[in-house]
């Protein structure tokens, strides 16, 4: 009996989660990874991908355990109303805070790359208003829009990378596998922390038209992410080499700058801006929706739309107030893994453990259900 009445298909869920994870990842990750692991960055993609699929299994286990309840609802059922409410509030606050950072990041990007004379708060407000409109219209609506825009954006980005192939030098990958295991693990942890944002799925798991397909969703998300990231990181490193990539702030953007076609198509990197606006806008929408829904569920509201406007004002101000300058943002994204792993990983692991203990205590009944579900999927 959740607040959300809309239903989304498997494809929509896959695209939504993938877009959420990928949108910020492609901004900073190639450069940060190149700093840690140089030309061996692709190894971290594989490692983090494996970790992501494992984490996805936990998320899907929780989701499938309560197919008609979202995270806040079943934590209230598992932990009792007050502890559950606290978990819901932490969850909501986390996404609110992170969303502020994401919005700041995107507005900063727009200001620094496209329109340097426009104040930050303008883009900040624009993005939040668009997201507020999407959240107000509901999950079903922005999931559908994402279903059109995400594949389009992905296709165009891949096109950019393909067009840059003539400029690439593949000797950059030699010598392979020279970085130490700790460095590789650090890089993977960095990547993995972005995968944790997929926990957002647990807030709209009950909206899935076929909840038994959760496992397939997690695999497809993992696959899409791996492909997109590998293409991006390999392309960037092959184009600039590991040292240069580490020095650049937005390597993907620089990659787009090198694209030429037939002497007429030049300097089309502004299209990349369009892609980032759509992907970023949709990511902000998802986070916005998750935090608003988490608050509404914890406070027992009948409709979350009431919270959209106040939360939007908070979000827009947070985005301005969270960081003083670009350096702070970069350092935030450098140390964000610790933050994400503690909160999101913590909540998920905690709920997972409690569920397991509960299942053991109440006997085989629930275990059997899970096995049946596994078989069905």
């Amino acid at each position: 009996m959740g607040i959300e009445q809309g239903k989304i298909s498997r494809r929509q869920a896959v695209f939504l989660v993938t877009n959420t994870i990928l949108a910020t990842m492609v901004l900073y990750v190639p450069s940060l990874l190149a700093q840690e692991t140089g030309q061996d960055a692709w190894v971290t993609v594989v490692l983090a991908g494996a970790g992501g699929v494992l984490y996805g299994a936990i998320v899907v286990f929780l989701g499938a355990r309560y197919p008609d309840k979202n995270l806040v609802e079943y934590s209230m059922e598992l932990l009792g109303p007050w502890a559950g409410r606290a978990v819901g509030m932490i969850f909501g606050l986390f996404f609110l805070y992170l969303n502020g950072a994401v919005i700041r990041e995107f507005s900063e990007l727009l200001v620094s790359l496209v329109m340097p004379e426009t104040p930050l708060v303008v883009f900040d407000t624009l993005i939040v208003s668009l997201a507020a409109y999407g959240v107000y219209l509901g999950l079903e609506v922005f999931a559908r829009v994402n279903e059109i825009l995400f594949p389009t954006a992905l296709f165009i980005s891949m096109g950019f990378i393909a067009l840059a192939i003539p400029e690439m030098e593949f000797y950059h990958f030699k010598p392979a596998l020279v970085h130490s295991l700790p460095a590789l693990l650090r890089g993977s942890a960095l990547l993995f922390s972005f995968y944790l944002e997929g926990t957002a799925l647990l807030m709209f798991y009950p909206a899935l038209r076929r909840p038994e397909e959760g496992r397939a969703i997690s695999y497809q998300v993992g696959f899409l992410l791996a492909i997109a990231l590998l293409a991006d990181i390999l392309g960037v490193i092959a184009l600039f080499g590991p040292e240069e990539t580490a020095r650049l702030i937005f390597p993907t953007f620089e990659l787009a700058k090198t694209v030429h076609l037939g002497g007429f198509v030049e300097r089309i990197e502004s299209l990349i801006i369009g892609i980032w606006i759509t992907m970023g806008g949709l990511k902000v929408m998802v986070f916005y929706y998750v935090s608003v829904l988490a608050f509404a569920e914890s406070w027992g509201l009948r409709d979350y739309r009431l919270l959209v406007l106040p939360m939007g004002i908070i979000l827009a101000s947070l985005a301005v107030l969270e960081f003083a300058d670009t350096n702070q943002i970069r350092s935030f994204f450098r140390y964000m893994p610790a933050f994400t792993v503690t909160v999101l990983g913590g909540i998920t692991a905690f709920l997972y453990l409690i569920t397991l203990i509960r299942a053991k205590r109440t006997g085989g009944k629930t275990d059997k259900d899970d096995k049946n579900k596994k078989k069905a999927s």
């Binding site: 496209v114 426009t118 624009l126 609506v141 559908r144 059109i148 089309i268 502004s270 801006i273 606006i277």
Partner: protein, 557 residues
């Protein structure tokens, strides 16, 4: 004695009562529910009173029978009835034939039955016993026939009014395809559809809406192909309308569409019976309104507005993709011009940028104002063109092209590039086959243009996303508006981005939830016949060629 205390009415109830009383005034109910009186004079007087001696009401009283002892009255509305058939089929038999045969003599006692069964030679005649029903029939073009001493009246359907003949539709013109279009008469229109679909399962359910106009509204569908829930929903929405008039299908459209506040049209409308027939066969519902040559088709989704019926007759692969391109250009071209010239000059190739800068030299306005001026001017011209008397249409073209285009550029008010941009947008906007959809797209140019002027490309992208979000939130009779793009049904894209050949489209669209999805037998792809013994013409020809070639007399053939 206890006095009964009446609860005071709530203000809202009081208001509702007042509203109802007002609505009732549109129809004098007390009179209408009266039965027909046996007194002929009373009936005639009542009719005359109801019409207030309106000049088009014709009342003809006469006597007949062998001794002229039977009094009858014929009432009809001049102009709504066919006078020739009225006199041939109704008046003549009564006045000429006084005796039916030896046993059945016309007497005041049996006059009504004899007239009904023996004398009136008209195909469709109704028998009515209520004044209100009779009144409705008279207003619809029936004649009322009272016989003195009887509580019934006869109403022969002698409808016949001046009607436009079936012409080629004005708004949807084709190169190839049928040339007949709907007219203003409902029956003609239903016949045009019936002629194309010869199945008894084609249904035309009729409703009357409008307290004053009593407009006939016909819900057409094919039983067994349509989803019954859609038909019920359409009927429910039509029945719930309580208004005084429905003069055009547009009135109805506003009442029955799903989202009230949207610039997008949520119903398809057409003048073409072949389009309606195709929609019915797909499992849709059509709504025909009397006195309108436009039929509404529900449910309608956005992708349909880019499909012209002609796509299915004359196969052109590029038409669909051209229209998608046209939408994109109409929506974004002026705003891209503004965004690029104002904020992102580096994106324009150098040579072009230089000539654009040269063209803009001396223009006193920023690009966004320039674009707004020209776009508004174009819309003014277009609006003037549609409302103008046809004889002065030429003038408009001259004024628009020369004075506003050429002169504005020469005077240095706008740059030549914006004229190109506006002209291209104008042309592309007419590529969208659906007029309402084209109007909507043209309207949405403006917000994007303003966003582009303020925030450059960022504004354009944000604006497009907001429009997409809005479109994704719309529904037409429960069907998502962007179907089948999203929720994505890739199997049906073969009729969205291009038009697949007919033998490929075996199934009806999923969105209509038709109980019978299969349209045709699968695997009907045409192929050349295999060469079989007895039909070896090709082998013979090849042999002949080989012989000739071997003989070396290639030139002799």
């Amino acid at each position: 004695m206890l006095r009964k205390v009446r609860k005071p009415l709530k203000p809202s109830e009081l208001k509702m009562r007042k509203i109802n009383a007002r609505l009732q005034e549109l129809q004098p109910k007390e009179v209408l529910e009266q039965p027909i009186s046996p007194d002929l004079d009373y009936n005639v007087k009542l009719m005359k009173e109801l019409f207030g001696n309106s000049s088009d009401l014709v009342v003809r009283e006469f006597h007949f029978g062998s001794d002229k002892e039977i009094r009858v009255a014929l009432i009809f509305i001049d102009g709504l009835v066919d006078k020739i058939s009225l006199s041939e089929a109704v008046l003549k038999p009564l006045l000429y034939r006084t005796i039916v045969d030896e046993e059945r003599k016309l007497l005041p006692g049996n006059a009504f039955e004899l007239i009904r069964d023996w004398l009136i030679t008209f195909a469709s005649t109704k028998e009515v016993d209520k004044m209100g029903d009779l009144l409705d029939l008279v207003l619809a073009g029936f004649a009322a026939f009272f016989v003195d001493g009887f509580e019934y009246a006869l109403a022969p359907e002698v409808k016949g009014w001046k009607d436009r003949s079936i012409e080629e539709p004005k708004t949807e013109s084709f190169v190839r395809g049928p040339r007949d279009g709907f007219t203003e008469t409902l029956r003609t229109n239903t016949a045009l559809i019936r002629r194309r679909i010869r199945t008894p399962r084609l249904r035309f359910d009729i409703y009357q809406v409008g307290r004053v106009t009593k407009t006939d509204i016909c819900v057409a569908y094919i039983d067994g192909l349509v989803n019954p829930a859609t038909v019920d929903e359409v009927k429910r929405r039509i029945e719930s309308i309580d208004t005084d008039s429905i003069l055009e299908s547009g009135y109805l459209e506003d009442f029955i569409k799903d989202n009230a506040w949207t610039p997008f049209t949520l119903l398809d409308r057409t003048e073409r019976p072949d389009k309606v027939a195709a929609a019915l066969i797909e499992g849709r519902v059509a709504i025909l309104v009397d006195t309108t040559p436009f039929a509404l088709i529900v449910p309608a989704v956005f992708t349909e507005f880019l499909q012209s019926t002609e796509d299915y007759y004359e196969w052109s692969e590029s038409a669909r993709s051209l229209r998608w391109l046209a939408i994109l250009i109409t929506l974004t071209f002026p705003s891209l011009y503004v965004a690029l010239t104002t904020f992102h000059q580096e994106m324009i190739p150098v040579g072009l940028a230089l000539s654009m800068a040269a063209g803009r030299e001396g223009v006193p306005f920023p690009a966004v104002i320039e674009a707004l001026i020209m776009e508004v001017t174009f819309d003014l011209l277009r609006e003037a063109g549609t409302r103008m008397p046809r004889s002065v249409g030429q003038t408009l073209g001259v004024v628009g092209a020369i004075v506003l285009g050429q002169a504005a550029v020469m005077a240095g008010i706008v740059s030549p590039f914006i004229v190109i941009v506006v002209a291209l947008t104008a042309v592309t906007s007419f590529l969208i086959p659906n007029y309402s959809a084209s109007l909507t797209i043209r309207l949405l140019r403006y917000p994007i243009l303003i966003l582009a002027g303020m925030f450059g490309l960022v504004g354009v992208f944000l604006g497009l996303m907001a429009i997409l979000l809005h479109m994704a939130s719309l529904r037409s009779f429960g069907v998502p508006y962007l179907y089948p793009i999203t929720p994505a049904v890739p199997a049906e894209w073969k009729d969205v981005f291009y038009r697949a050949p007919w033998w490929k489209m075996d199934l009806r669209p999923l969105l209509l939830r038709s109980p019978n999805r299969r349209r045709q037998a699968p695997g009907q792809r045409p192929e050349p016949p295999p060469v079989r013994p007895g039909r070896e013409t090709e082998a013979v020809i090849e042999d002949g060629c080989q012989k000739n070639c071997a003989g070396g007399n290639r030139g002799s053939g």
